[in-house]
Symmetry: C2
Subunit: 340 residues, 2 copies
């Protein structure tokens, strides 16, 4: 409200009748200050509502308490949950978080990385928007970086991700065992390592089931158009497996628009669960990613790096839970041949 210059350590010192050095010593808990002065300084701080300027503090001491987070899109609930978890962990360790979004656009990611570096964060946690991440890293002393969720094509980074291939494979073999004979796998783009790994894993576990992959892009309108087109072609696949959040959402709507009944006309499964998948009827079979655990692992690793750990880059793969639900269960007694 009041637009005056914020109180500085000098004003506190003056009010307490001591030097700025003493104020600093009190606030940082140095044991060299006498009882009386401690009390005086505390009083002055309270009266003035003084909070030390973290920037100036960092400038002189070199001790950072700021970390940066770069995510593709904050409005995606999964990334929201990721950042939220991170924020709490960081807080517990005394760090604040600078959050930027790359909007899934490589140029924007590059620019954000540069601008975030101007704050000299002690460390960075990044979910890159595609595999070419390391080329966009500004050269010149970068802080420690932990890459999460999506794997860059090159570069030596600490990585935290999920076992995409295994989980996708589990879904595919579940579908195959359910008697489905063809499966369309839909994802945004193979430029994203997640999608690539999921497709590879899905294909590898297909068994006798016929598999096809379709790349739909990142724009919801385009996804919708392309999927409409594909699903109207004969023969229609007996199962649809969507590999990421946006694709799943649009696909579910498209199925409904085409009047296809799940799972009678087509089975439906998704990577990346969101809450609505439990709420619809039938509920949707989905791979639930351990977002909180991923955030936790990423932060823990970053803390180690910030503390000076110089071990070689480490990769961590977390396993997902497969939630089998009604959307992939064969309607009892209905032989598939009759429906197709």
């Amino acid at each position: 409200m009041d637009r005056t210059r914020p109180v500085s350590i000098r004003m506190v010192a003056e009010r307490a009748g001591v030097s700025t050095a003493t104020v600093s010593n009190v606030l940082n808990g140095k044991p060299t200050v006498s009882k009386g002065f401690i009390a005086q300084v505390r009083a002055a701080v309270d009266e003035l509502g003084y909070v030390a300027d973290s920037n100036a503090s960092r400038l002189r001491s070199g001790r950072h308490s700021l970390a940066g987070v770069v995510v593709p899109d904050l409005s995606n609930p999964m990334f929201g949950a990721f950042v939220s978890t991170l924020e709490h962990l960081a807080r517990d360790d005394g760090f604040d978080l600078l959050v930027v979004s790359s909007a899934n656009a490589p140029e924007q990611e590059a620019e954000r990385l540069k601008s975030i570096r101007s704050w000299r964060p002690a460390g960075l946690i990044v979910i890159p928007c595609d595999g070419a991440f390391s080329a966009r890293l500004p050269k010149g002393g970068n802080p420690p970086i932990v890459v999460a969720d999506r794997i860059p094509d090159d570069g030596a980074f600490d990585l935290v991700a999920v076992d995409n291939a295994r989980s996708a494979g589990a879904v595919t073999s579940h579908l195959a065992q359910g008697g489905h004979r063809s499966c369309l796998v839909a994802g945004s783009t193979l430029a994203i390592s997640n999608v690539r790994e999921r497709w590879d894993g899905a294909a590898a576990a297909a068994g006798a089931m016929t598999m096809a992959m379709i790349e739909l892009g990142l724009d919801p309108a385009a996804i919708r158009r392309r999927l409409h087109e594909r699903l109207r072609q004969a023969p229609r696949p007996e199962a649809l497996f969507t590999l990421d959040h946006v694709t799943t959402l649009v696909a579910f709507q498209v199925l409904s628009e085409l009047g296809l009944s799940i799972p009678r006309d087509i089975a439906f499964a998704s990577f990346d669960e969101t809450e609505w998948m439990r709420l619809v009827t039938p509920p949707v079979t989905a791979v639930r990613q351990p977002v909180e655990a991923m955030a936790q692992a990423a932060w823990a690793q970053l803390m180690r790096r910030m503390a000076g750990d110089a071990a070689p880059p480490q990769t961590l793969r977390l396993s997902c839970a497969i939630e089998i639900r009604g959307s992939t269960l064969r309607p009892s007694g209905q032989p598939r041949t009759a429906a197709a």
Copy 2:
């Protein structure tokens, strides 16, 4: 990766064979530098990958490029979308965003406000966790603050919110006109102005419909328990209107667990739409809040304040869209008396 001290303006100056002042002048586009030196400096900057330290810069120049955001919970998609929009707007105006979450807890909010202030942001956008917000503001020179979504009980703030009462009233009268004779309104807590305003608005527009309000708290487990309990009591209300995101989600599940069919056994409407409400069958009637517009208005107002605008605090109320869907439509021809 490399843990050396980041390049400073001094190294750039040395490499370019000029003084630090000249480097600064080049980078800030001061017109007083000769062509030749500009080129030399640019080259040195590129070679070293130099990015000026925003903190040191701010310290000397007094020009800030950091703003703070305080939200109750980043994992709530609505707040995620809010922050996401804010982030893009801020970016366009050259600001970075420090994001903290208060976890809907007053003490945490107070602590976050204090810690965020240590970064000396140029301005703050806050969604408070309850009405007592102004009491938690640290005293002593605060930056301009815009409060969004929830209205504090006191204090002179710029406010951006939605017309809760009118929108809730519209839902209630829609229910009444549909022939429902009793309605249970469920919300987290009346300590949140939104919930209070929505309840007031809903009650005011009830007409002949019997209204009851139930406060369920913020904890999902407790919400679930209390709602189960209430809905098993006779007489069961003919309609359920939930006033916030979490309550809605839990309520929808509870209805399903109790085996109640929507809208035959009970009509269902929600404030605060999320994407799944369009996906379930029947789709859920909901009030859609203009989250992006709210973020936009909040940021615009904050920009004005940061530019020095000293006009008296201003309140903005944005209007919501009411999405009438299947969950509140009377099953055709079925007289309600037969169902109840």
